[in-house]
Symmetry: C2
Subunit: 234 residues, 2 copies
DNA sequence: TTTTGATTCCATCAATTGATTGAATGGCTA
DNA sequence: TAGCCATTCAATCAATTGATGGAATCAAAA
């Protein structure tokens, strides 16, 4: 027997799936308490009783939405991992940031829902977090952040989270930031990418530099190509 | 005649001020729709009609909270500016990140409310943003990010926002992240500072390096004081 | 003391909200 | 056709929520 979520994903035209999609959007915009089941039903064009028939109560639906979004995000990370094998660290980060940013701007409710889960409490003690796998650990591992002993897992996970939060913030805050900067969407997205790369990449590249020099083993082409900008170990 | 907000700030023991303080906490935790006026009244230990007597309706109170938090944040930026004149860019950023992080961890509702304003919509179209001055521009200027022609205002503001958002995220997400990493509060805060500094500082230091080399013209005091910085020109 | 004004709470309302019931609807099979 | 089952909706509930009116309280002024 499949879970309701799997059923809904199987046929995107089904009522179950249409409700879930609408719920993602609305919950993403207004948060749990800011969303009423009527808002979702109206978005789909159905009665609330139909919504409850398919998804149970509001908490159940919200839980399904969170799982669904998390699932999508997980898939996206897998795809990313496949693409990003090659080249230097700098190049890998460039590609990953580009791709991930594009994905999130195409699915802003993903960022919205992730941030809601991080930052806000729900009045009723719905504890769905224990069901939601956290990717930070995996990503940290995939990025090779946990390879050196000086960088324990929690530190590596923090580094992943600051990267992810940077992206999520600019995606979720698009309305706010964009109207502040008076930019159109395309220019905003370009500026986001530029800023993310400018801020996030150097730290990692420099550390890699240091580590390699520390070992005094110039192995990859990475060391050579970065000769021109380096920090002297203090 | 003073504004209600000024009155409340004048005497922290007054009912007006106590309600405002409670409202900051509760709105910060649960967001606008997640908060009921009864929750705030209960926190203070009063009846809801007393709350409405002092602050009008829920929107008015929320507006006052946002203005209050924004005001505090502005003051904190001013204090920071006074302290942070000296030393190298790297040192200035170290101090600023330390101080700002401490402040936000001491007043987490500030981060919460800022993020709520950035990321979530309110069902009723309360448009208080036009009243809320945005500091990003000032900070960008104070940090000297707008001095070179290559870095237009919007780019500089994005850089400020990624810094602020990094701090806000770790403060607001403390519960979530800390339980994920299984750290106590002190260790978490230390790790946050370490991570923020590791990620955020190198990009700016490197850029400053490059600019100086590019111009090969030591003009302002900024440029001179950096001679002894840790970053060695290759 | 009486009066005045500010403050607080109790009782109550109307609207909203989450949720259910039971009656239709329509497709499928025996 | 009749029976069965899944789906949908109108009607309705009970609880919650934002908000108000009016009585009670209290301190300072007259």
């Amino acid at each position: 027997m499949k879970s309701p979520l799997e059923k809904a994903r199987k046929n995107p035209e089904s009522m179950k799936a249409r409700i879930l999609a609408a719920a993602r959007r609305i919950f993403g915009e207004y948060g749990f308490h800011g969303t009423t089941t009527r808002m979702i039903a109206k978005e789909v064009g159905i009665d609330i009783s139909t919504l409850h028939y398919h998804w149970g109560d509001k908490n159940d639906l919200y839980e399904a939405v969170v799982m669904d979004v998390n699932n999508d995000l997980g898939k996206e990370f897998l795809n990313l991992e496949k693409i990003v094998h090659t080249s230097t660290l700098e190049e890998r980060m460039n590609i990953a940031l580009d791709r991930m940013t594009d994905y999130l701007f195409d699915h802003p409710e993903v960022s919205n829902l992730v941030l809601f889960r991080y930052f806000s409490k729900t009045r009723n003690e719905v504890d769905i977090d224990f069901k939601v796998p956290e990717f930070s650990g995996n990503i940290a591992h995939a990025m090779g952040l946990t390879k050196d002993a000086k960088n324990p897992l929690s530190r590596a996970m923090m580094e992943v989270m600051i990267i992810m939060n940077g992206m999520h913030s600019f995606v979720s805050g698009e309305n706010y930031f964009r109207s502040m900067l008076k930019l159109d969407r395309k220019n905003y997205i370009d500026l986001v990418k530029e800023t993310l790369k400018f801020i996030l990449i150097p730290a990692f590249v420099l550390r890699e530099e240091k580590m390699k020099k520390g070992r005094s083993r110039p192995s990859s082409k990475m060391t050579q190509e970065k000769k021109k900008s380096k920090v002297k170990p203090s």
